[in-house]
Symmetry: C2
Subunit: 219 residues, 2 copies
């Protein structure tokens, strides 16, 4: 239940509805399977109309993963800039992607259930990751900001920087996707209990290694 009094009734209801939809989606998928779970059923369980479902989520998959519209806060961007200065651009961007895409997996109250679902249906995450470029002009924008503060890209004009940002994002996104793929294959095989926080770190570490390796060998 959401009780933050700083929000008006309207916003509280909105948050509650979203939470109900997320929980309904996860519950039904665990109970009936991914294919068997329809948007209608999720909406029913959450007590809203199917039309409303799509006012909250872009797709069934988004609801299951609990992805909300990407919103890169000033704080997150600042952290990313710091990270870029400390560890380099690749580390920062990989971290940013995982933070934005993976937050519901590692920080939600139903994260264990979500992890279980993702483990059983790796294409869920992979699919979102494949699309994330188009979903998130914001990410490109954030990377552009990073590039603008990078001396190596100082001479570039706006347009070139946008293009470069796309490529950097694609590289890092690919690394994350590859890391997730491995993790899903591993998790399916090993099926060991795992702790979500450490999983997130392992993913980040692996993604960064992969990206760096390619940079290393191809340049």
């Amino acid at each position: 239940m959401i009780t933050d009094p700083s929000l008006g009734l309207r916003d509280r209801k909105r948050l509650e509805t979203r939470a109900r939809l997320e929980e309904a989606a996860v519950t039904l998928v665990l109970r009936d399977g991914l294919e068997q779970t329809t948007v209608d059923a999720i909406s029913d369980l959450a007590d809203v109309s199917p039309r409303t479902f799509f006012n909250y989520f872009d797709s069934k998959d988004s609801a299951i993963l609990g992805l909300r519209e990407i919103d890169i806060t000033a704080g997150l961007l600042a952290d990313t800039i710091d990270r870029a200065a400390a560890d380099g651009l690749v580390d920062a961007v990989v971290h940013l992607i995982l933070d934005v895409m993976g937050a519901p997996l590692t920080r939600s109250t139903i994260k264990e259930d979500r992890m279980e679902i993702v483990r059983r249906h790796p294409h869920l995450l992979a699919g979102q990751l494949a699309q994330f470029t188009q979903l998130a002009a914001q990410l490109t924008e954030a990377v552009q900001v990073l590039l603008a503060r990078d001396p190596r890209y100082a001479g570039q004009n706006e347009a070139d920087r946008a293009a470069s940002a796309d490529v950097v994002l694609s590289l890092c996104g690919g690394a994350v996707r590859a890391a997730v793929k491995e993790w899903a294959a591993d998790a399916a095989a090993v099926s060991a209990r795992f702790d979500t926080a450490s999983t997130s770190h392992r993913l980040e570490f692996r993604a960064i290694s992969l990206a760096r390796e390619v940079l290393d060998k191809l340049s």
Copy 2:
């Protein structure tokens, strides 16, 4: 009309049906606009049922672009390997992507009409490019073959090579996407007549530059 006598009636009919669908799609989109053109209308004009439409194409967009199932022939793979040896991995992969994705744009008989449509609706190509990773396990496989023949990746085991291939593909795919974005923005602004062959070359050149630049600056 398809008249190659080496094919049986069955195959000839199949090719004809596909051609009719492609042409119907392009014709109707040019006449009525992208949104106004429905799968039903395309199927009608091509004299098949809407259900059959989806036996030939994954989506309306694919039909408009004339994308067929990706099939990397032995010849194409050999060419790509040669190119990798001569100009490097990035050049080869970028070329491969453009060849696979762009063939219908540069080699089809209705290419001018297609180019016109892509110019008016850049998201068509961008969308396909965004999805191409998942569509094309074959591309990943091809890149894996390239990596296997690359001395820098000689020490890697199968699994690591698969991951690296994903990242390389993502990098090059991003570069192509960025190049296409620029081209679309340009073409929309300039709206000049242009020659499809040289467009393809310019795209390839620009994509390679972008990829190399990122490799250069980030490593």
